[in-house]
Every structure is written in structure tokens, then in C-alpha cells.
């Protein structure tokens, strides 16, 4: 307590400045040109926060154990250990950041989220074991005052216990949830929803138990209470994510992003640290807004996504309709059609990421441009496995960002477009979302590709249906030509045919 009260003003100011730097870092992302500077400002903010903490909490050794005031000197050993920890972690981070393939971005982000979650749990546990160091102790009235122990004992302040409990709980959920999200995205675990019987009952029960224990924690700071909260929170994070299917991952990953922020904020409350609180609030709202945008783009409520199970049961009636006639085309047909076009709009989806077709696609677009064709890209908000996934992949392939358009900005243009080239997307182009009230994706905003004069649809085979388990009406339209092959191979063949 005394320590917290004695925090010098410059320290508070430094943390505030670092918080402002983080705000500016996010603000920079409003346009690609300002974003790079924003990222540097973020790094400066982090350096200020770390530097300030190290200066204020420089590890010391008491030379005279009993004397007051005690004489201390800097403990170089601990300082060195801290630096080693930073160097080890930092180099792992830098190497990973440099080597990671852009298509693996969703996994990487999930893995990073899990680390924030784990760090929050560790900090919470450290604060629980050594509350004096964090200045969160207080005189707590004892249950049974006795002449020997006195009326009170020194324990963790009650308010801090709540903040600490919430912080570790959210951190633990972030950790185990992100681990599952990582395994699903990385393909170590099937993207199919895993549905336990009575799962809603189990989940709500566990959640209630966690909250109850945190409340009880204010009365009894025994280790078992604290560590049961941690354990149950790990379990619920796991249980919450396993029933959620692969294509709902954009929501999950945004949600976990948000949780990692709230965990940091809760820790900030415990430590009375404004940099952590500001950052936590920023990250928390950022993740929440992204989840909202993703849910809106799928026309589903957040609750229904979190409840999971979507896409687990395919719609029986439509699966029988697989024998309907469709037009199949070759790479040469596609090349011919596109060469004649005034405007081609490319609609990429997760399939493009899976087959790494973005570079070939850029080459195709360049060839078309030399033929005088206007080429644009249309991105549905939930295309891919995380928000903005397609944009990053196209940027990686050197597609200029001013050729890439969001759904609202380009949807009206399909009617004046000669060819819509759909590659690896499915549900987001399904016209049934606009017309068929019985469809599970009814009401979801979709790209109006069918309004283009011709639709070229690259798909591995006719058998598989999209994530939602519904057949796509688009395949059987007169103006649709199916290009059945691996996305990358097909695009490469088209490039060849364009000559």
C-alpha cells in the first residue's frame, strides 16, 4: 500500500505517455500510409513502459539485513536474469515473426493470444504469492480475533482479490481457448465442431463456479481457492472453443483478442497501472468491435456463434440435389472469357489461402491488365479465417490496396461487370442468402456475383458444400462456369492460356 502511494509523479506520467502511444498506434491503422509510423509509436510506448518499470523496480539486495534504514545495492544477478528472459523471449518472437508464412497468420495470432493469457495467469499467481511486492496488502480483520494473533492480519486487500481473480480467470480462458483455436487453425485438430452432451449446462455451471469462487476468495485467500479458479478457467476456455467450427474462427479469434485485453486491464487494476488499463481497454474494445463486425457479416448473433455447433449437421434435403446439371469449363475457356472482358472482379476466399494461390492470382491479374482489362478484388468481411485475412494475402502478392474493395463498396458494380472470378469462396457468394428464407445463411450479406455477365467459379470438386453445409444455387446458373481443380493449379493454367 505504502509503495503504491509513494509512486513518484514522473512514473505515473510515463505510464500515461505509454498509454497514449498505444492509442496513436491503433489510430495509425486508419490508413496504410500512416500505419507504419503508428507501429513505431507503439514500440516507443512499450519501451517507455518497460524502461520505467525497470528503473522504478530495480532489483536490490539488502546489505544490512536488520538495520533501518537498510542499505541496499543493485542486484545485478536478478537484473541479468530479467535481461536473459527478455532476450530469449524476444529472439523467439523475432525469428517467428520473420519466418512465418502469411497464410499462417491466423494460427500465429492465436498462439500470441495464448501467450498473453498465460502471462496474465503467471503475473496473477506471482501477485498472489508475493502481494507485498505489488503493494496490494492491507490489514484484514481476522475471523476469530485472539490475543496471540491480534484483531487483524496482513493479507491481500479485498478489492485487489476480485481484480486478481478476474484477471487470472480471463487470462486462463484466453490461454486455453487460444490453444484450441491454434490447434484448429493449424490443422492439428479437426475444424469440425466437437459437441459434448449437456455442454451448455456444463459451461454455465463452470462459469458460475468460477464467479462464486472469486466472490468467496474475498473472504478466504487460501491457495486452493485461487488455484481452483485458475484450473476451472483453463477448463472453460477449452470447453468454450471446441464446439466452434473452423469458419467461425474469425469471431473466435477476435473474441480471444478482446479477452486478452480485458485480462491486461484487470491486471492493470490490480497493479494500479494506467498503461495496462488504457491498453487493456483499447485491446478489449478492439476485439469486441471485430467480433461484432464478423457476426454482422454472417448475420448471426454473438451468442449463437459462441454456443457453437454451426455446420455440424448438414442440411439433408439439399445434399440430394447434387446431380443437377452444371456447366464445366477449362482454363482456356476462362482465359478467353476474361480476355474479352472490360472488367473482372476477383472474389477470394479461404480456398485461395489453403492452396496459396495469391501469387498466381496476381500474375493472372497483371496479364489481364496488359490486355486492357480492369481488375478489381472484392473481399467479404468473413472471407478467410480471421478479420482482414484476404487483404494481407493479396498485399503479400503485391496487389495494390486500392484495387481491393470491401463488400459495401463494390457490390453494386457486379451488375456492370463481365466476369466475376470466385476463387476459394463459397457461402459468401450464395444467392440463397437473399432469397431462401429456409436457408441457414438467410439474411447474411453476400457478394452479388451472380449479377455479373459470367461467373467463373474455381472449386476443387462438385461434391463438397461450403461451411454452412448448404448447396450453392450459383453453381447451376446459366451464367456460371465451374472450373473444377485446385485453385492454384487452375490459376496457373489460366495464366499459361493467357500467353
Amino acid at each position: 500500500m505504502h509503495e503504491a502511494a509513494a509512486t513518484p509523479a514522473w512514473v505515473l506520467l510515463a505510464y500515461l505517455i505509454s498509454g497514449v502511444c498505444f492509442i496513436l498506434a491503433l489510430r495509425g491503422l486508419s490508413s496504410p500510409t500512416s500505419s507504419r509510423r503508428g507501429n513505431y509509436i507503439g514500440m516507443v510506448g512499450m519501451a517507455i513502459a518497460v524502461g520505467t518499470t525497470l528503473v522504478v523496480h530495480i532489483p536490490t539486495i539488502r546489505i544490512t539485513p536488520i538495520a533501518t534504514p537498510s542499505i541496499t545495492r543493485t542486484d545485478w544477478k536478478i537484473l541479468a536474469e530479467i535481461l536473459v528472459a527478455i532476450i530469449i523471449g524476444g529472439s523467439i518472437g523475432l525469428v517467428t515473426a520473420r519466418k512465418i508464412q502469411m497464410t499462417a497468420m491466423p494460427q500465429l495470432v492465436a498462439a500470441f493470444h495464448s501467450l498473453v493469457g498465460m502471462a496474465a495467469v503467471l503475473v496473477g499467481a506471482a501477485a498472489f504469492l508475493n502481494p507485498e511486492a505489488f503493494g496490494i496488502t492491507a490489514q484484514i480483520p481476522a475471523f476469530h480475533p485472539s490475543p496471540t494473533s491480534g484483531c487483524c492480519f496482513t493479507g491481500i486487500a479485498r478489492g485487489s482479490r476480485v481484480e486478481m481473480g478476474l484477471g487470472v480467470a480471463i487470462g486462463a480462458i484466453t490461454f486455453s481457448g487460444s490453444v484450441i483455436a491454434f490447434l484448429k487453425l493449424n490443422g492439428n485438430m479437426s475444424g469440425k465442431p466437437i459437441l459434448l452432451p449437456l455442454r451448455h449446462f456444463i459451461n454455465l455451471g463452470t462459469l458460475a463456479a468460477i464467479l462464486g469462487l472469486i466472490a468467496y476468495f474475498t473472504q478466504d485467500q487460501s491457495p486452493w481457492v485461487f488455484f481452483t479458479v485458475v484450473g476451472l478457467s483453463f477448463a472453460i476456455g477449452f470447453l468454450l472453443i471446441i464446439p466452434i467450427g473452423g469458419a467461425d474462427m474469425p469471431v473466435v479469434i477476435s473474441m480471444l483478442n478482446s479477452y486478452s485485453g480485458w485480462a491486461a486491464a484487470a491486471m492493470g487494476f490490480t497493479l494500479h497501472n494506467s498503461a495496462m488499463i488504457i491498453t487493456g481497454a483499447l485491446v478489449g474494445s478492439s476485439g469486441a468491435i471485430l467480433s461484432y463486425i464478423m457476426c454482422r457479416a454472417m448475420n448471426r448473433s454473438f451468442i449463437s456463434v459462441i454456443a457453437g455447433g454451426f455446420g455440424a449437421v448438414s442440411i439433408g434435403g439439399d445434399a440430394a440435389a447434387i446431380d443437377r446439371p452444371y456447366k464445366r469449363g477449362s482454363a482456356e475457356d476462362a482465359a478467353f472469357l476474361m480476355k474479352q472482358a472490360d472488367q473482372v472482379i476477383i472474389v477470394p476466399g479461404y480456398g485461395m489461402a489453403v492452396s496459396q494461390a495469391q501469387h498466381a492470382l496476381k500474375e493472372m491479374a497483371d496479364k489481364l491488365k496488359t490486355e486492357g482489362v480492369r481488375v478489381k478484388y472484392a473481399i467479404h468481411p468473413v472471407a478467410g479465417r480471421m478479420p482482414g485475412h484476404m487483404n494481407v494475402l493479396l498485399a503479400e502478392a503485391n496487389v495494390p490496396y486500392d484495387e481491393v474493395f470491401e463488400l459495401e463498396d463494390i457490390n453494386s458494380e457486379f451488375a456492370q461487370t463481365d466476369v466475376a472470378f470466385v476463387i476459394g469462396a463459397n457461402d459468401v457468394t450464395n444467392p440463397a442468402a437473399k432469397t431462401d428464407k429456409s436457408s441457414p445463411i438467410y439474411g447474411m450479406p453476400v457478394l452479388d456475383v451472380e449479377k455479373a455477365r459470367t461467373v467463373l467459379f474455381v472449386k476443387r470438386s462438385m461434391g463438397g458444400v461450403g461451411y454452412a453445409g448448404v448447396d450453392n444455387e450459383l453453381f447451376y446458373r446459366d451464367n456460371t462456369m465451374m472450373l473444377l481443380a485446385d485453385a492454384k493449379k487452375m490459376v496457373e493454367e489460366i495464366v499459361k492460356a493467357l500467353g
Partner: protein, 96 residues
């Protein structure tokens, strides 16, 4: 700082976050996630306090481990964001 001033900072920061994030262009949503990831590792502050404090060996080691984990995130998060942002380029001055 008392609880109310901390709460005020938190609430106001939530509003700032709300307006700032809505102004982020959808094309940069992936870098947004990776950079928020990096900055939420400011939790390293707590880890450093634990690692530097005397009094509990287990608390110190938990702190050091947390410092290492958060460092992965800080360096990795900013670096991967920088790498992504470097890829976003405008059209090179020739339009059909």
C-alpha cells in the same frame, strides 16, 4: 491512485478504443489484431515487478517466465505487424 480514478481512466479508455477502432480500415484488420496483441503484452510490467521483487522465490520465477512469454509477444507482435504493413502498397502509377 484510488479505485475511482483508475475506473475513470478505464472507462474513458474504452470510449477512446471504441472510436479509434471503428476508424481502422477493414483492410488492416489483421495488422490490427497483431498490434493489439503486441501492446496487450504491456502486462510485462507486472511480470517485471514480480521478477525484480525480493521475498518469494516462486513468485520471482513465475515473473521471469511471464517476462519471457510477454517478450515473445512484444517482439514478435511488433515485428510481424511491421512486416505486414510493409506489404501494403499503392498502385504504381499506371492505370488501364
Amino acid at each position: 491512485m484510488d479505485f475511482i480514478s483508475i475506473l475513470s481512466i478505464f472507462v474513458l479508455a474504452c470510449f477512446v478504443g471504441y472510436y479509434v477502432v471503428w476508424s481502422v480500415t477493414p483492410a488492416l484488420h489483421t495488422p490490427l489484431m497483431s498490434v493489439t496483441n503486441a501492446i496487450s503484452s504491456v502486462i510485462v510490467v507486472g511480470a517485471l515487478i514480480a521478477a525484480a521483487a525480493a521475498g518469494s522465490a516462486s513468485s520471482k520465477w513465475l515473473g521471469l517466465l511471464a517476462v519471457a512469454l510477454a517478450s515473445v509477444n512484444i517482439f514478435g507482435g511488433f515485428a510481424v505487424t511491421a512486416r505486414m504493413l510493409a506489404m501494403y502498397k499503392k498502385r504504381e502509377r499506371k492505370d488501364a
